[in-house]
Amino acid sequence: MAVVGATDDPVRPVTLHSLFVAFLKVSLCAFGGPLVWVRRMVVERQHWLTDQEFAELLSFCQFLPGPNVVSLTVCVGAKFRGLAGSLAALAGFTVIPCILGFSLGALLLSHAHNGLLQDVLRGISAAAAGLIIGTGIRLLMPHRRRPAALLFCALAFAGLAVAKLPLLIVVVVLLPLSVAIAGRAAAGAA
């Protein structure tokens, strides 16, 4: 089976300016966590990465400490433009959105007892949770014909969300199995 979209050359050259602006925009609309919006920008709008490449880069960042999507921003910048690219993407992602978000958050925090505000926040959270689930399903689409991939995705979900196991346990148990089976499948295909 051919590897889909294993390109390293995006449609347009990735400039420092475009990295800064793309990650600034992403961060400014990042309700419910930036992952949803980063995928939309990097995969759907800019075509810098395929869904497959995006999921692989996200997996890598999952095993780094710290906020995952911030690490992802650094990695996307580094992939296309090295250190300068990382700094441009990171600056776009953090500086202005943090100042605005912090001001808004501090303001809301001083009105946290307001009933209407709590109702609106609850509605936004419910929708944002749906966006994250939808993004996960989108990332799964390139793997929909791999039963082992679907199985391990379901097991990871069940372990964390249903059985409420600690993240570390889920990862330590599932990861070696998933990698071993992926390795066997690759060896069988070759």
Binding site: A55, L64, G66, G105
Partner: protein, 175 residues
């Protein structure tokens, strides 16, 4: 800068380097540290900070840590708290990515990536599910989450409209 703020910043920088699997996993630790061990902020303030950063745009974990730091040591602590949250981990991410990318065509790495991805996606979906369970008080909220997830699969739908619709339904007292 006050002594509590300095202690908090040191803790944030440490968490930045040891929080494997992302910062959501360190929330229980964070709560223990600022609410129980040191008593800098109340449990209610901590929960409010969390609810607010989920509902406003921006890098939510950085905003959460800076809001908590703000409660402890004012605006200078908030700025330093944000830097402490992502500075150490970003430096590490850059170095690690350079090394990882050098071997991107190696057979072992292709295999590793193939195995990692499904588990990662399961964790992402579980994260969304956990967030829905925290906020959801009834079937109406669950329906909003489900509808948003389904509409998200359509590439032409701008997710901002989904967020706005959720906020509007909530504001009308329907959730």
């Amino acid at each position: 800068m006050t002594a509590p703020a300095a202690t908090l910043l040191g803790h944030l920088a440490l968490l930045s380097l040891i929080s494997f699997g992302g910062t959501p996993g360190v929330l229980p630790d964070m709560r223990q540290f600022v609410v129980v061990t040191h008593g800098w902020i109340s449990d209610q303030d901590f929960s409010n900070c969390f609810a607010i950063v989920q509902a406003i745009p921006g890098p939510n974990m950085i905003l959460l840590m800076s809001l908590i730091a703000w409660k402890v040591g004012g605006v200078p602590a908030a700025a330093a708290g944000a830097l402490a949250t992502f500075g150490p981990s970003c430096t590490l991410a850059f170095a690690a990515f350079r090394l990882w990318d050098r071997f991107r065509d190696a057979a072992w790495q292709r295999r590793l990536r193939r195995g990692l991805v499904p588990v990662t996606i399961g964790l992402v979906i579980a994260g969304g599910y956990a967030m829905a369970r925290v906020g959801d008080v009834g079937w109406a909220s669950a329906a909003v989450t489900l509808a948003a997830a389904c509409l998200m699969l359509h590439p032409r739908v701008n997710p901002l409209w989904l967020v706005a619709a959720g906020g509007a339904l909530g504001g009308c007292g329907l959730l």
